[in-house]
Symmetry: C2
Subunit: 315 residues, 2 copies
Amino acid sequence: MEFKELKEFFETHDNYLILTHRNPDGDTMGSGFALWNILRGMGKNANVLNHEPFPARYDFLYEGYSESDFEPQTIVAVDVASQNMLGAGLQQYADKVEVCIDHHISNSMYARNTIVDGDASSATLVLYRFIKEQGIPMTDIIAKCIYTGLATDTGCFKFSNTTPEAHIAAAELMAYDIDFVDVNRRMFDIKSMGRMTVESAVTRDMEYYFGGKCTMICVTRALIRETGVDIAEFDGLASIPLQVQGAVIGVTLREHRDKEGFKLSVRTTEEADASAFCRQFGGGGHVRAAGCEIDGTLEEVKAKVLKAVGEMLGE
Amino acid sequence: MEFKELKEFFETHDNYLILTHRNPDGDTMGSGFALWNILRGMGKNANVLNHEPFPARYDFLYEGYSESDFEPQTIVAVDVASQNMLGAGLQQYADKVEVCIDHHISNSMYARNTIVDGDASSATLVLYRFIKEQGIPMTDIIAKCIYTGLATDTGCFKFSNTTPEAHIAAAELMAYDIDFVDVNRRMFDIKSMGRMTVESAVTRDMEYYFGGKCTMICVTRALIRETGVDIAEFDGLASIPLQVQGAVIGVTLREHRDKEGFKLSVRTTEEADASAFCRQFGGGGHVRAAGCEIDGTLEEVKAKVLKAVGEMLGE
């Protein structure tokens, strides 16, 4: 589907449900509410849906939003690469998606019509291209939604998916009242008390091997109990070990909830291959970020990991 | 001084010392080595000088650099707002600076000729304007130096000094081989083991008052001893307390080294005035970031601070 057809589609349909992905982030939320504002501007009925209630940290995107009462007719998904990503709460719509707007090259093409720009840094950037090409009126809130998705998915212009286009879009969006300082503070700086506790605990217990070339954190069931923090706050810790100066391979061990053994998340600098490392244990992934599972007690798993790290580092 | 005159100056002088500021950051280092490469490209002799040896974390900027042997004739300072910022090691040159290239509106105009663009996000962006306007040849290493200063001073495009021009410059610089992912990892993600330990310790001991609206960390002499980490690693902690969700005022207490009492660094969201808060104690600063000193034991100082916080929050 081309942008011209998308505009015609929007003009000739009504009563939209806009689906966003589970574990919502700034890009799916930003895309969802940007599209909601676009459709409302075209005089259409629309609601934004997520598998769970919208997280409070994105409240600046849905200020002024309220769910309307209408008979849904048109299902659109934004930043949702596969039906599975809709989560259980939205599975009822999984086979009825008319249009999917996305930037994941891995999109499974489950929708009747798909616009997937794999070279776009964020799904909101696809919407931005649409807005510019088709002359859709831009507003402050749409600009803020688009910026939020762009900043989120590029790690504030830090990750390798940051393109010159991403920077130029940011420059143009700054002409609107987007308060990007506040957006970035909310997206990147603010943490819950629980998260602060978790990060403090895993950093305190960080282990250093091979002169600091290998760093390791161990998220055991005992640690989770000890901190008393909600288990969700223990997600997304895998980047922490590699933040230590001199580390080449950063390993995060996470104990299984209900059986003996650990899930490993491995991160490496350009000096090591995370994917090759994890393949030894039946896992895989990308060259800088990969994962696998290893059975055994903490001591057994650590011994296996350190033996393999030693071989990899030639030590 | 205009850029045209600056180019003429460079063409008609030789044997340069390029001075950078003490506690060197990515902007002064980036400016220094960008200018060194520009001058070398013009066939000139030049050395870059700092108060201390160049920190290893900036080694990607001075790859290929070596100090040359010549009789210094022309002193240029980059990103140095005042003579004091040169540090003790470079005071011998403080009154001999022919040209200063800077972006601090507070520049004390100590140099014979000053180019200070207060609207530039970084000193490297002033050099970038110069390069573009005067047709200086751009190279990969110059682009990398300029990007590094720009990313450093804007907190990777997060701070309020980020302008549309900063984003457009970043987009243009990405046409060169700058490996911005590696630059940003070095500038923003990597921490020393000691720093990890310090951040873990102050986060572990963080105190929450008024339902979490006030957060506080206390850097006591005892804590510094306990961690066994170099004292320099305890600088720049003041932004941590305000990272907690819901915090309105984040206070960092730092015990004096040689007398009773504490230095306070106060950070606030838009809901509180850090400067007004600190004025009560004879200090001052900006509306979101201010400081003061309070005499007394830890308990006495905390009591004074919390009383004032309670009044400010109306609780």
